[in-house]
Amino acid sequence: MQVPAPFEYRRATSVDEALTLLGELGGTTRLVAGGHSLLPMMKLRLATLDRVVDINGLHDELGYIRVGHDEVRIGALTRHRELLESEELAAAFPIFRDAERVIADPVVRNRGTIGGSLCQADPAEDLSAVCTAVQASCVIRGPDGTRTVPMEEFYRGPFETAVGDGEMLVEVRVPVRPNGSSAYEKVERRAGDWAIVSSGAAVWLEGDVVADARVGLAAVGPNTTAIEGVADVLRGHEPSEDAYAAAGAIAAERCSPVADLRGSVEYKRHLADELTRRSLRRAVARVRGEEG
């Protein structure tokens, strides 16, 4: 059994209390949500913390999916499993269900949260690519109040986010725009494995042509970022294999993968291309009602 170094454990019963504890305790204090990233790091002694503030008691307050007319709001403590099972969310943004089907395994999904996933800021994290594609923004609360940060500004580097020491992520907001849909494509070495590369795409049509399109890639850079330029090659054009290929080529070129046991740089760039095409193709099919 892998065992962590000694640490102090506190349990918060409200967001306010969690923020107070974070502020009071100082030192190396971390929130623990699902714990599926934090606890392994502690057990492997990659993270040695003075204190841990457990926010699982806040599920009533922060575990929700509210699909509104022009915005979807997801509480930071919403579990993977809840994202997977929500019919409303799947209807508005099928990309969430696509991704949740291939994130980890049921045991992890029962506990892991969207807040923990985004705040872990692992370069291969799937929900970051999803949130990037759908142009989400993050609501961060701290002692001085609440601020909203778009996904583009949320990541500061691998395992680093815009959430400050005494702050926490409380909500993820996704704007709803008409005539759009989304899809997620991931290649992994085995079910439950982290992505070799994955691609999330969101597309909005206006008549027969693309009004806007976004692609977010995971595991091909220090952080998940939107691939700039994808919208430019698609906007105003009818969706076509040529257009997807152009978008794929941009994705392959603009990402910055590193070689590891999962694959070479060349292979990962190829996947960025291939999966960008596949995710765009599927998203478009969904807008047109050709696929569920």
């Binding site: 892998q2 065992v3 070495r189 085995r190 079910a191 494995d193 982290w194 694959g263 292979y267 190829h270």
Partner: protein
Amino acid sequence: MTTLGTRPLDSFVDNDQKPVGYGRMLRKEDPRFVRGLGHYCDDIQLPGMLHMAILRSPYAHARIVSIDASAALAHPKVKAVVTGADLAEKGLAWMPTLSNDVQAVLATDKVRFQGQEVAIAVAEDRYAARDALDLIDVEYEPLDPVVDARRALEPGAPVIRDDLEGKADNHCFDWETGDEAATQAVFDAAEVVVSQDIVYPRVHPAPMETCGCVADYERVSGKLTLWTTSQAPHAHRTLYALVAGLPEHKIRVVSPDIGGGFGNKVPIYPGYVCAIVASLVLNKPVKWMEDRSENLISTGFARDYLMRGEIAATRDGKILAVRTHVLADHGAFNGTAAPVKYPAGFFGVFTGSYDLEAAYCKMTAVYTNKAPGGVAYACSFRITEAVYLVERIVDCLADELGMDPAELRLRNLIRPDQFPYTTKTGWVYDSGEYERALRLAMDMVGYDELRKEQAERRARGEMMGIGISFFTEAVGAGPRKDMDILGLGMADGCELTVHPTGKAVVRLSVQTQGQGHETTFAQIVAEELGIPPGDIEVVHGDTDQTPFGLGTYGSRSTPVSGAAAAMVARKVRDKARIIASGMLEVSVADLEWEKGAFGVKGDPGKSVTIQDIALRSYGAGDLPEGLEGGLQAEVCYNPENLTYPFGAYVCVVDVDRGTGQVKVRRFVAVDDCGTRINEMIIEGQVHGGLTDGVGMALMEMIAFDEEGNCLSASLMDYLIPTALEVPDWQTGHTVTPSPHHPIGAKGIGESATVGSPPAIVNAVVDALSPMGVRHADMPLTPARVWDAMQGHPTPPV
């Protein structure tokens, strides 16, 4: 009220027809396992028990300059810190391996692989023991590591084993088999010669339960009890006696329930020895359980063979000879567990299932700065590597000849009338009906239809592959005349007692790790005596309660101990016959045995059951003259030969052209393990082995970087397959009993692990063949498949 919790466990063995003997029945042990009531090493809690943790080397190769344990010793919960220097004072710093090499218990001079044991801390709880490791200050002087086996013998390579006197290189051993000159002559004259470099990468058994033990030295009686994750408790006891100088009768080794072994739990690990030392020194029970990373980086790996295979044939597809040169990476110490005369295990069966004119193998084994091990992981002593080699190279030949790989195999399989068949490397295959098995597999899978479908799909640009493998294993080690491990012969004892009420206890030396021994051995005795399996208790795993024998690995339990169980039951039956003759007042010759009872020939009304006889044997009445009371016997079974299970496997895969992902769509496995004792257990063993095969073929590998850092130290990095990667297995069988085995059984434990990787790889290569691919090495991860599709398949090391 009866609830699940109060129902006796036995009542869950609720079979449709409970066989009295062989037949399909639920496993007797499963009610406790599936309800979480198994009792594993880590479940053991003793009063005053302390916990041990091991400090391991962060370097692959480094000199130890100094170790300062003072901060650890100052920890309030720490009881002791022991280093290699401390062990050296007691003469315990080094121990023999199962291959007559030596291995450091705790490093004294140098560390030779990342994860090597450097010091131990013993503390009041697991947390404090682990915390103490961070307080031990070790100063290392890093040395250049030898990571690539191909460079281990280069002049100027750093010498790893400078502990061995006069050692000036990294050479471990050389070995050859077959006839070099005769093979050369066949190759020279052959119409077609194909050669291929083939790597079987380093893989790990990764059992669900990691290794560990509880050592309890009891000062008053002077007795050491060691509960341990051992597949071979008797062999371990003897080795502890030899190494530690403890008297053997004062050592009791107990293997409680074991959560998977696959060869990983055959060796004696430094941790066991350290826990014993700690218990001796501290006079307290000491528990050591390694964590997952420790298991993956330091315990017995498997494979790591770099092979060059060559095959010679005629143009019309008659295979003439096979030749191979192997470079074997044995890591820092030769920790292989193989019979003494067989340093390369049973790799000699690389001639496969084919009738050849000549064969030759030359092997060089080297030391590298990696964890020791070798023969582990359901490999039947290197047969996994041998079968992979020959089945891959036969497919390369089929490709060269433009011949269907099934057709090529059918033309060359050893014919039934050739058995017993002596191979060109000296193995005597006992029995086989190879063609029948292959044809059955082809029928089951619908081979011709599949080839048609493949042609259609190829025309549409899709990538579908069909792979075949045909394997013969050599299991059931082994005959005393040929085989021993560190001087211990490989015969197995067995004791059987039938109690007065007709219930029986059978005691065996082999140790189950999930194979279902408690059921299989009860069924073997049941078949011979007619006592229901539910009335037969199988006792194993405790050296104080069982006769000597060498343990469970290499698929040897049923071939060796299973034979012993049948023989001992027959001995009991012979005695029962004499008692029955007295009870029925007829001569022994007038008795006839009908499962469970002796009757009088020609007099259907007169018979006595085995239960009647048991009661009489202990009763007050007279027994035939000269006969002792009681109904028990013991035997020690020395196998005459190995047994040779075989099988034909067909795998169908689809490869995603855009991503290189492989999907195993179908898999048909036809196995012949001779007499079948419990179909359900056999199928379970096959399913597990096939899943293993998917793991090795597609994802598993212990990888290292250039510094010798192990890159596969967790199950996030060392991938093992899940239910989602495997198809619905289709199993079939033929039955060709072993002629020399008392019940004709051949062993099934490793067949599927041996036979499936080549079938899967052959299928993937077949899918890729339109792109000109003739070979691609495991593990066939999406990236590696894609590399092959681009025309540059790369070896994994």
